[in-house]
Symmetry: C2
DNA sequence: AAAATCTTGAGCAACTCACTAGACATCTAG
DNA sequence: CTAGATGTCTAGTGAGTTGCTCAAGATTTT
């Protein structure tokens, strides 16, 4: 029950990109150095976020990455789902990627004890992460700097 | 962000063991068949639960496993922590297995934006799972049968 | 002693994490 | 307007973990 490094790195990278939102682009090695992330692994993460429509990139000598959506529009839940897949602790309670569990004997019956408990967990997690925007996330960061 | 199969199987096995609590023992193959779990994998899980003090086992021709604690005393949180490790989504917010994140640039500073969000998630998950007892869990099961 | 069961350990395939090497695109210098 | 420096992008590799299997050993009852 952990988030992957991918999500953690991805969020920390976005934190960095928030600070230059609207301004200049950031290069992968800048982000990597400041956040202590392996550059090549970070690359994969940034590309995934780009394919998902959160980032834009430019190649060449003055290339780099920049946020394409405003920090208010991006939630932690979105980011984690892009990098880590659905939030649901087991797939039979996922709202974004539901999948009937094939092996469970309760699958056929109207309700499953696991589903009820895990459904509550899912909702609790989603409630927090889908209302936590990047701007609020990054803002905490700035405040503590003062 | 998923629970492992280990936890899922473990909980479903305990569900089965709740029903015979105080009565006869259950053999691994009985549990495995009813819950559609690979027998040999289930074995490892049952042994882990035994080592943790939840189950007792007897070898030999009338052997099997039985619950050693009452279903009211066992919470889903306990079980998952035994089989899956700490509940915290990242280790720097774990209460049962705290670990200072070595690579994070905020580790030194008084607060980290990730920590705040993840701490809320941790609390939400723990709040649900540490108050959900096996008896309540199993009870839902019986009710839906009627 | 024999049969049924738990117990232990090693071993395998698939996935995640971290990293490497090289292809491809873009800008600047000459 | 071409050469090379500086980027992004793609594919592949190896360590470590997870989900699962197999085989041999230990213990209890008949």
């Amino acid at each position: 029950m952990k988030f992957s490094k991918k999500s953690e790195y991805g969020l920390r990278a976005l934190l960095e990109l928030c600070e230059t939102y609207g301004g200049r682009v950031l290069q992968r090695h800048e982000i990597a150095e400041r956040q202590n992330i392996p550059v090549e692994f970070l690359e994969q993460i940034l590309l995934a976020l780009k394919r998902a429509g959160l980032l834009a990139s430019r190649r060449g000598i003055r290339g780099g990455y920049s946020l394409i959506k405003s920090p208010e529009e991006i939630t932690l839940g979105q980011v984690i789902r892009i990098l880590d897949g659905p939030l649901a602790p087991i797939s039979c309670v996922s709202k974004t990627a539901y999948q009937k569990c094939s092996d469970c004997p309760y699958a056929a019956k109207p309700s499953c004890p696991l589903q009820q408990a895990m459904g509550e967990v899912r909702d609790a997690i989603a409630n927090i992460l889908d209302h936590y925007t990047l701007s609020r996330f990054a803002h905490n960061n700035l405040v503590e700097g003062s």
